[in-house]
């Protein structure tokens, strides 16, 4: 019975959706029949109206609510004050995730881009290009949680004398060193987690940058070579400037993805051992501790951090266009 009810609900929803579409098209058609100077504009407006309504209701309104909650004390609904933001920047359990997020946002895009770029340049026009590219692109196909579980095994730790399950500790003990509990070395453990994200994102960087490198006109490279420019100089003065736009896209896209990092940390350490990040604490405060105000403040901080990256990206795209 329950599934039947759900089918009914779904059918109903589809019918309503179809009716709305028909209504909009009919309305636009009617306006189009009037043939005055403004009718074209009105027609356009009618078409974007549903999108506008959805944007306002689904994005702008909740965003305003969140910002309001961020100023409403820990529970989000009392008075108006900045105590949540003070908490984010002073309480150690919130300040640490903020610093960690900053480390993530600096490291992941830079390393992912460097690895992707180096790889793209090295395999460019080599015999095994397709195969080599497939190898580095594979991690992209794995979910963040899946990748984290794989790396959890890589870093896995057993006491000295026991059989090491983790690859790195197996190597370390194999060449005579003591095993290391990677997840517990404070400060460094954040970088061990960052490696996972770089591993996932390098494939994306490589794909975009490789396409950009292939897009450089052969004439330019040939001309440079005739002029005697080779190796590092060719890369520095020809390749790099030519793919500047793509580099920006890669850096900013990876940067935004990194700001939202959640799965890797939650899967590998649960935010313990000082590895937590903003997105994880935002989830914790909003949905586990029911401190919506603090959660909203974290979301707002995250939003403010994303803004400059997005703005820079838009400005660059306009320049390119």
């Amino acid at each position: 019975m329950k599934i039947m009810d759900k089918f009914g609900d779904m059918l109903m929803a589809i019918v309503v959706f179809a009716l709305v579409v028909v209504l909009i098209v009919a309305l636009a058609w009617l306006v189009g029949q009037i043939r005055t100077r403004a009718s074209g504009k009105v027609q356009g407006f009618i078409y974007i109206l549903p999108v506008l309504i959805m944007l306002l209701g689904g994005l702008v309104y909740p965003a305003i609510l969140t910002i309001r909650q961020a100023f409403g004390g820990p529970t989000g609904d009392e008075g108006f004050g900045v105590e949540n933001f003070v908490a984010v920047f002073t309480r150690p359990e919130l300040l640490r995730p903020l610093i960690n997020t900053a480390i993530w946002v600096v490291c992941v895009p830079v390393f992912a881009t460097i690895v992707g770029l180096a790889y793209a340049v090295l395999v460019d026009r080599s015999r095994f290009e397709a195969f080599a590219k497939a190898l580095i692109f594979l991690p992209m196909a794995i979910s963040m949680v899946g990748a984290s579980i794989i790396w959890k095994f890589m870093y896995d730790f057993r006491a000295a004398g026991e059989t090491q399950v983790g690859l790195f500790n197996a190597i370390l003990t194999g060449i005579g060193f003591q095993p290391v509990d990677f997840m517990q070395i404070r400060w460094w453990n954040t970088f061990f987690l960052i490696v996972v994200m770089v591993w996932i994102q390098a494939g994306f960087a490589m794909t975009v940058l490789s396409a950009a490198i292939k897009g450089i006109p052969d004439e330019i490279i040939e001309a440079a070579k005739i002029d005697g420019t080779t190796g590092w100089k060719l890369f520095r003065f020809i390749t790099l400037p030519s793919i500047r736009g793509s580099l920006v896209v890669v850096l900013t896209t990876v940067g935004i993805a990194t700001l939202k990092v959640f799965d890797v940390v939650r899967t590998m350490t649960g935010g313990q051992f000082d590895t937590s990040v903003l997105a994880l604490e935002f989830y914790n405060y909003s949905f586990r501790y029911s401190q919506y105000g603090t959660g909203a403040a974290l979301a707002v901080v995250l939003f403010i951090l994303v803004l400059p990256i997005v703005i820079y990206n838009v400005v660059q795209m306009r320049k390119d266009a």
């Binding site: 309480r91 150690p92 649960g270 051992f273 949905f287």
Partner: protein, 467 residues
């Protein structure tokens, strides 16, 4: 051609629809065909002779035929089936259809659903702290009916009624329970080595020392605080259990209610007492490594080395019984068994730390009230015990016949809960505000076991307590 394709599509889709429908019909009737324990006679069940439910008790709620009650819980397959089965007598008596929904994300989702106006009729709330949040923040929890309240007065220790109450009003009757004050050990190994189950805390420490001296290749204790994003909770249990022993249940109550600071001198003393076991490299962490390895060892793995003789004791709740590998004999004379974590002074009573779920209602329809009343009765507790043939379930309901419980450890838990001398207290971290109880307390214990000092760890948690 086109017509033929269309026809085959129609046939295929109607076929798959039919399969779907029959599948869902199975789900609907599956509960009715299994009538667990309807022939098993209960011994001395008072008014309920022959194990059948006394339907009269539910008549006063009116004619409930054809009504539906929805239940939302964190218990997912396969543990949900015993619950569904245990409702059958009620459904047969009243004609109410009880719909079950379990979710792993229950705790995060429940508040969202209630606030969003999509509350279930009944939710099994596993923490008094969450219940208080639901009552105070949403105002949508309905007070328990008088019949339920009377059942709780009759069958439960008064402490339990307090845990189901918020601001002096009684909302939620207790459902299942677990006992946390246990130390798992191997009776076989203890007999071989001539060790005896300790009666006092001093005995426990003497035994610890003796095991460490006798067994250079093993450690007396093993422990694991790891539990994914809940890492640290076994540490909170340790502190709570020890605090109840070193400072007494009254101080424990004050501490949980934040009437004394979280970092009170008595709490420092308790955590240091726990640290004498957990932070001593001579005593931990059998089979896993140094003290730090406690933080990354999952609590499920925690006690396993007992079976290999790499450690001898593992403090963990009754539900740890489910974690022993298949074929392990969990019994008083078996491979694994549990003893009560001894009190410092057994004369002063027997502090028992435990947990459980509570039945909160979000609707005040008569069928919901009738169902609440059923769940708080001894009839249900016995029905649930019989519907759980593989064990792993206990209730603090004093009307629960211990013989109805399937596994020895469940019977031990029920005996501990029904013990006259037992002073039961609910898991403190489950009653504190969740930002502490599920946040900084866990983090503080994890930092503590990885080297932070007792004072620093407790100060950190105290600072995070919501004003």
């Amino acid at each position: 051609m086109a017509r033929r394709v269309l026809k085959s599509i129609a046939v295929a889709s109607s076929l798959s629809l039919a399969v779907l429908l029959s599948a869902c019909a199975d789900v609907g009737t599956g509960g009715d065909t299994a009538s667990p324990g309807s022939t098993a006679a209960t011994t001395g069940g008072g008014d309920q002779a022959g194990g059948t439910l006394d339907c009269e008790a539910y008549k006063k709620f009116g004619d409930l035929e054809g009504t539906t009650v929805t239940v939302y819980t964190s218990i997912i397959a396969p543990e949900d089936q015993p619950h569904i089965d245990s409702w059958v007598p009620f459904e047969e008596c009243t004609g109410v259809d009880v719909e079950y929904e379990g979710s792993k994300e229950f705790e995060a989702q429940l508040l969202v659903r209630v606030k969003g106006g999509n509350a279930p009729d009944i939710a099994y709330v596993p923490q008094p702290g969450l219940l208080a949040t639901l009552v105070r923040e949403t105002g949508k929890v309905v007070e328990a009916p008088a019949e339920t309240s009377a059942n709780v007065d009759e069958f439960f220790d008064p402490a339990w009624k307090g845990y189901g109450s918020v601001d002096g009003k009684f909302y939620a009757a207790p459902l299942g329970a677990n006992v946390k004050s246990y130390v798992w050990y191997s009776p076989k190994t203890f007999t071989e080595k001539g060790y005896e189950v300790p009666e006092t805390w001093d005995d426990l420490m003497t035994l610890t020392e003796k095991i460490a001296a006798d067994n250079p290749d093993a450690k007396p204790w093993c422990a694991g605080f790891g539990s994914g994003d809940a890492t640290g909770w076994p540490g909170t249990d340790w502190l709570e259990d020890v605090l109840m022993r070193t400072a007494g249940p009254d101080v424990y109550d004050q501490w949980v209610a934040h009437e004394i600071p979280f970092n009170d001198a008595k709490v420092v003393e308790a955590l240091d007492t726990a640290g004498k076991i957990l932070k001593d490299p001579k005593y931990v962490n059998g089979g896993f490594g140094d003290v730090n390895s406690i933080a990354t060892t999952t609590f499920q793995d925690g006690g396993q080395p007992i079976l290999q003789g790499k450690c001898f004791m593992h403090r963990q709740a009754s539900f740890y019984a489910a974690n022993w590998p298949e074929g392990t004999k969990v019994a008083e004379d078996g491979d694994a068994w549990a003893f009560y974590l001894p009190a410092v002074d057994p004369e002063a009573g027997k502090p028992v730390l435990g947990g459980g779920e509570f039945v909160a209602a979000f609707a005040d329809r008569p069928e919901v009230k009738a169902f609440q009343t059923y769940l708080s009765s001894a009839d249900w507790a016995n029905e649930k015990a019989k519907a759980t043939p593989n064990g792993g379930w206990v209730s603090a309901n004093k009307g629960l016949e211990i013989d109805n419980l399937a596994s020895p450890i469940d019977r031990l838990s029920a005996e501990t809960l029904q013990d006259e001398k037992a002073v039961f207290r609910f898991d403190g971290s489950d009653m504190m505000p969740s930002v502490v109880g599920a946040g900084t307390f866990w983090k503080g214990m994890t930092d503590w076991i990885t080297g932070q000092s007792t004072q620093e760890s407790l100060d950190f948690i105290e600072r995070s307590w919501p004003q």
